[in-house]
């Protein structure tokens, strides 16, 4: 194997790939990249896997001799990143990988590539075409709400549903819910009487059967990393146990979480009588400020809202109290008080697109609903936050 490639071309891709490598790898071979060079195509393929998610990146390179090796991902990454901005020559010499750039030479011991899990490249011919920009956006509105609780694996992924006219992504850890619904195609958006057509997810009407897939958060985070606004097309293949994405020069194969997603929707149907509208940025600032001394375990911050008074406060047995009176807000409803974890609230507000935010409140034990204000035309985005009972 022998090829030459620009450092800048190589480095950005292997930096992404490195996030696939698990620090607690099940087997030593999984700490390696599989590097394959194809002389005829002038391509180099680099593969990383943790068995649940596998990603392949395909680079154009000057390949003078084909071949295949496995090499420590950690060393390969750090050596490449420390090289000068120039052409890097990489070739195999028996069980050593030679990495040479200008007057710098590394000879790295290789691993046994035959131990590396085999991945046959998928055929994207019949893949579903997805608008990558919309897909990226749907992930960013939901992925923060997934659970980290390994005892409830079903909640550690984002639920992606494809229905007749709309696409939905939702995530919840029981304490917060994030849901985004977008029209399937420009046509289905128009049918519903809306004009904006850019926010749909498919180019052609979706004709396959209804689908519900729970995608692990690691795969979604990886897709977010490799997203490039210039590249709008993403290919998706749904298999029984896997979901396969083809995007740019990447192939990502991820397991899916084989469960029925819990019925979180009922929680969103709650009727809340009070409406609070105010600028999002300054609200986030105020919450962050007051929360400086909030209890670490619960993160408790409290809203006391009335028509002529809105106070954000916290108190902490260990540190003290803090409060801020908010002047700029609109409120219709009765006086109410509600406590919540400030980190959850901030993660939701972060996902709000509009300058203003609408917060629907009930009494201290009711959930809180958070929306864009005004709502977006074609995308329905709903956030729910459960309060702290004190």
């Amino acid at each position: 194997m022998r090829f030459a490639v620009e450092k800048s071309e190589l480095i950005q891709h292997i930096q992404h790939l490195s996030s696939i490598i698990s620090t607690k790898a099940a087997s030593p071979i999984l700490t390696n990249y599989l590097i394959e060079a194809d002389e005829k195509k002038g391509e180099v393929k680099i593969t990383a896997t943790d068995l649940k998610i596998t990603s392949v990146v395909i680079l154009n390179a000057a390949v003078s001799e084909g071949g295949i090796i496995a090499v420590s991902a950690n060393y390969f990454n750090s050596i490449i990143s420390q090289m000068p901005d120039s052409v890097i020559n990489i070739w195999q010499n028996e069980d050593l990988l030679m990495i040479q750039c200008n007057k710098i030479d590394f000879n790295i011991l290789c691993a046994d590539y035959t131990l590396f899990p085999q991945l046959s490249l998928p055929n994207f011919e019949n893949a579903t075409l997805v608008n990558a920009e919309t897909f990226h956006r749907m992930i960013s509105k939901t992925v923060f709400a997934v659970s980290t609780d390994v005892n409830r694996p079903v909640l550690t992924g984002v639920c992606w549903k494809i229905m007749e006219k709309v696409n939905l992504m939702a995530a919840t850890d029981g304490r917060k819910v994030a849901e985004i619904i977008v029209p399937n195609t420009a046509a289905s958006a128009t049918e519903s009487g809306e004009e904006n057509i850019d926010e749909s997810i498919f180019d052609a009407p979706y004709s396959e059967q209804y689908l519900e897939k729970i995608i692990p958060v690691k795969a979604l985070n990886f897709l977010q990393k490799i997203y490039d606004p210039a590249i709008k097309e993403m290919k998706v293949i749904f298999e029984r146990n896997n979901i396969i994405f083809g995007y740019n020069n990447y192939i990502v194969v991820s397991n899916i979480i084989d469960h029925n997603y819990p019925e979180y929707e009922k929680a969103l149907l709650v009727e809340l009588p009070h409406r609070l509208v105010l600028p999002k940025e300054s609200l986030m600032q105020s919450i962050r400020r007051v929360a400086l001394i909030a209890p670490e375990d619960s993160g408790r911050v409290k809203f006391d809202v009335d028509k002529d008074r809105f106070e954000i406060s916290t108190f902490n047995k260990e540190t003290g109290e803090a409060k801020e009176i908010i002047d700029k807000y609109e409120y219709s409803g009765a006086v109410t008080s509600i406590s919540f974890n400030n980190k959850y609230m901030l993660s939701i507000l972060d996902a709000i697109d509009t300058e203003q935010v609408l917060i629907k409140l009930g009494d201290s034990k009711d959930p809180i609903l958070i929306f864009n204000e005004p709502p977006l035309k074609n995308q329905k985005i709903t956030f729910l936050l459960m309060p702290l009972r004190t």
Binding site: Y264, S298, E321, T390
Partner: protein, 355 residues
């Protein structure tokens, strides 16, 4: 027989203000709110007391009684620091110290660090130590229980030292006007006077059963203290018995919605304080001060030990609406809870959707 000393600082806040600003010496000094502020007198110098001014009186009223008085806003941080100094003096003599307030404490010197059997001698040493350290005077009462020690400290104010022994207990209590008895307020004193009870001797002559019929549980207390019986210990670990908040309004209120809004805010403050202490309560009370300064307090039990906003508010609202004479304006509203339980720590519970 125990040996108890009661120490009461003389016109404490005012004396500290005079110490800090000697030009105030000899003047009527009033620590508290300014006369135009709806504030009250926290304490005043002995010169001011001659005009009938006393703590708790409105500053405006005090100003009318003595227009030449000097009003000083309180410097509570300083008062607290001085109290710390005084408390550390007490602890040189005994570990059994019960601070009642910043300017008042009981000491049990039955056993003491000097192994000094004479409590009067200890009281004299403490007075001297306080003077040397703080340049302030206090009055000390020495006796064999808390009730009598407190009576004794009142006998020779300021800068006094009095002793009540078993031998002179009756003599002193009999001649004492009943309003001077600790635990007998203005209202009870007025009732007693109507019944012909003017001093300790009159009270002593009452039957226990009559006292109980007229004064309930307090009757038993009167009966016992007149006979020199008071078994209360000097309590070093002070646990609050109630937690409360109150607010004097900028203007007197008689509109029910305004008053309920104020009540809601008081409840919020109360809940914060309960949560800060991590306690629950089994009893709630409200305090209403009408525009003529008449005060009523009413309480009711709570269904369960709680610090829950809704339960506290509902009960406070019930109490308020049932007891407020709505033909009268309210100057001050207070709400508090009692029968506290610190074992039941209030914890935040993150609620979850049912999935």
């Amino acid at each position: 027989m125990k040996k108890i000393i009661h120490i009461d600082m003389d016109a404490y806040f005012a004396s500290i203000e005079i110490r800090e600003d000697p030009s105030l010496k000899g003047k009527c000094v009033i620590v508290g709110g300014l006369p135009d502020s709806r504030g009250v007198v926290a304490t005043c110098s002995y010169e001011a007391r001659k005009y009938g001014i006393h703590s708790g009186m409105s500053s405006y009223q005090a100003w009318k009684l003595c227009p030449q008085a000097v009003f000083v806003p309180g410097h509570f941080k300083l008062y607290k620091e001085v109290s710390e100094q005084i408390r550390s003096i007490f602890h040189n003599y005994t570990v059994l110290v019960e601070p009642v307030s910043l300017d008042e404490a009981y000491l049990d010197v039955t056993e003491n660090k000097l192994n000094e059997p004479d409590a009067v001698k200890i009281a004299r040493l403490i007075k001297q130590d306080i003077w040397n350290t703080t340049n302030l005077t206090c009055s000390a009462g020495v006796s064999y229980n808390k009730f009598l020690a407190k009576i004794a400290s009142e006998l020779e104010k300021p800068d006094g030292l009095s002793v009540i022994t078993e031998d002179n207990t009756q003599e002193i209590l009999f001649s004492l006007p009943i309003e001077k008895f600790f635990g007998i307020g203005k209202v009870t004193a007025a009732r007693m006077k109507k019944m012909g009870i003017k001093n300790g001797e009159d009270l002593y002559k009452q039957d226990l059963s009559d006292l109980i019929r007229n004064f309930g549980k307090a009757g038993v207390y009167y009966y016992q203290v007149l006979r020199g019986i008071d078994n209360r210990e000097v309590i070093t670990e002070f646990e609050p018995k109630t937690v409360s908040c109150e607010n004097t309004f900028d203007r007197d209120l008689d509109e029910v919605n305004e008053i309920l809004t104020e009540l809601k805010q008081l409840i919020e403050r109360l809940i914060n304080r309960l949560a800060l202490k991590g306690i629950t309560a089994k009893n709630i009370f409200i305090k209403i001060k009408y525009d003529n300064f008449e005060v009523i307090t009413r309480s009711c039990p709570l269904p369960e030990p709680t610090a829950d906003r809704t339960i506290l508010y509902e009960n406070a609202e019930k109490l308020l609406l049932a007891n407020w004479d709505n033909s009268r304006k309210i100057r001050l509203l207070g709400v508090g809870v009692g029968k506290l339980d610190s074992e039941r720590i209030v914890k935040d519970v993150q609620m979850e959707i049912p999935i």
